[in-house]
C-alpha cells in the first residue's frame, strides 16, 4: 500500500477528482494548505502599507492506494493538474504499512 500526497492548485480540484474517479479511485482526503515555492506571490496594500504575500493557497490531496494503482494515480493527477505554469505543485509517494476501515475494522488492501 502506498500513500500519494499531491499538492495542487485549488482551481484544478474538480478536474483531478473526476479523473481519479475515472481510474477507479474512490477514497480521497483533501486538506487546505498554503504553499511556498518558485511561484511568486502577490502584494496587498492597506493604508499605504505593503504586504507581500508569498504563501499561496493550495490543496493537498492524500490518496492511499494499492501498489498496482500507484502509477495510474500519479500519472492521472500529474496530467490533469498540469497547466504548465510555475506553481502547479508536486506529488510525493511513500509507504503505508497498514490500513483499517473504522466502520467494520477491515484491514489491509480491502480497507481502502
Amino acid at each position: 500500500m502506498q500513500k500519494i500526497e499531491a499538492i495542487i492548485q485549488p482551481s484544478k480540484l474538480d478536474a483531478v477528482k473526476e479523473a481519479l474517479i475515472e481510474v477507479g479511485i474512490q477514497g480521497i482526503t483533501i486538506l487546505e494548505a498554503r504553499g511556498h515555492g518558485r511561484q511568486k506571490g502577490h502584494t496587498e496594500t492597506y493604508r499605504g502599507r505593503e504586504y507581500s504575500v508569498d504563501l499561496l493557497p493550495k490543496l493537498k490531496l492524500e490518496i492511499i492506494v494499492t501498489d498496482d494503482m500507484v502509477d495510474a494515480v500519479v500519472n492521472t493527477i500529474a496530467t490533469t493538474a498540469r497547466s504548465g505554469k510555475i506553481g502547479d505543485g508536486k506529488i510525493f509517494v511513500s509507504r503505508i504499512d497498514t490500513a483499517i476501515r473504522i466502520r467494520n475494522d477491515e484491514r489491509g488492501d480491502n480497507a481502502i
Binding site: 485549488p10 482551481s11 483533501i30 487546505e32 490543496l59
Partner: protein, 458 residues
Amino acid sequence: MLTCCSARRLLAAASFALLAPAAHAQAASAPISNGDNAWMLTSSALVLLMTGPGLALFYCGLVRRKNVLNTMMQCFAMMAVVTVLWAFFGWSLAFSPGYSFIGGLHQCFLRGVGLTPDPFYAATIPAQTFMVYQLMFAIITPALISGAFAERMKFSAMLAFTTLWIIFVYSPMAHMVWGKGGLLNFAAIGSGHLGGYLPSLDFAGGTVVHISSGVSALVTCLYLGKRLGYPQVDTRPHSVVLSLIGACMLWVGWFGFNAGSALSAGTLATSAFINTHFAAAAATIGWCLMEWRKKGKFSALGAISGAIAGLVAITPASGFVTPMAALAIGLIAGAFCYFMVISVKTRFGYDDSLDAFGVHGAGGTIGALLTGVFANSAIHATYRGGAATGLLQGYPRQMLYQAAGVLIAWTVSIVGTLVILILVDKCIGLRVTVTEEEEGLDLTQHGEEGYEWEIVTR
C-alpha cells in the same frame, strides 16, 4: 371565537378590501400632525429594524455555524407571516372593539381601518399608521421566542406554532393591555364590561411583548427538551461579533419601540427615549459588575446581554418614570437577569438555548413590577389624572394592578403556549430528527449553508 367568523363573511370582507379603499381614505384632510406621523413612521421602521437585522443577528451569532441561517429565518419569516396574519385577523382581534379579553372580527382585512386618526389610540396620526406600528410589535414578539427552541425545531412546526401563537396568545394580550375595552387598559376605564377593571401600566409592552414571549419561551424549551448532548457538547456562539452588531441595532431600534409608543413626537417621546437609553446603559453595567465579581473579567457577550436586559425591563416603564429611576431600573434588571441566566438556568438545567426566558421573561416581569414602584405622575398623568401613581410616590395599590397584569400575562402564555405546542406536536411534530440536528438545520431545513469560506469550494 374564530368560528363565529364565517367563511362567507371573511370572503366578503376580503373582496371588499381588495377593491374598495380603506374606509374614509379620502378624508385626508383630518387634523393630522405631520411631525407626529413622521416620528411614528420612523419608529415603525426602527421596530422592524429590531427584528431584521437586529434580532436575527443577535440570535444567529449565538448558535453554532451549522444552524445560523435557520436561526435568522426564524426571525425573517415572522416579517412575512405575521404581516399577513395581522392584516387578515390579528389587528382586528387585538385592537377592534370587542370583549375585555379579546377584540372582535369586524375589522378583519383591515376593514374600516382608515387614514383618519382613531382618537382612542392616537389623535394626531392616521389610524393606519398606528395599525402598522403595532404590526411591527407583533412581528418581533414570536421571533423572540425562537431563542428558546433554537437549533432543534422543525421550520414547518415553527411556522405553525407562531401562527397560532399570534392569534391565541399575542392578540388577546395586546387587546387586554392596549385594546378598546381591554381588561388591563387604564384608558378603557368606564368603557363598560371589565374595561380597565385592572388598570396596569405597560407603556411599550413589558407584559404584551416580553413576558408573553419570555414565558412562552420557557414553556417551549421545557416541552421540546434539550439540544442533543447538551450541556456536555460544545455550544459556544459561532460569532459573538455578529451578536454584538445585532445588539447595537436592537438598542437603536428600541428607541422606536419605546419612544414611539408615545404615539407622538412630544415631550413624552423624549422621556421614553431617554429612559430607554439610560436603562440600557445601567443594565450593561449591572450585568458586567456581576460577571466581574465572579470572573474578574467583563465579557462582550455579557455586556450586550445586560444591555438587552435593561431595554426589556424599561419597556413597560419608559413612559412613566424619571431618567434617574430608569438608571435604577436598568441596574437592577441587569443584575437580576444575570442571576436568572447564570444561576437559575444552570440550577434547573433547562435548555433555553439563547436565554429568551432569562432575559425577556425575567426582565419583563421585574420591569412590570418596578414600573409600579417608580411610576411618576409628573411624567405621565395616567388614569390617576395627575395624582400619585407609583409606590414611591405613595400609591401602593398600583403594585397590585401591576402584579395582576404580570399574573395574567404568565397564565395566558403558559396555558396558550402549552395547548398550541401539544396541538402542533400531534399534527406535524415539533422536533427535527437526531441526524438532522447533527447535520445542522441549515442543510436539513433549508438546503443551504451559511458560509462557504473554504478554498476547497472554489
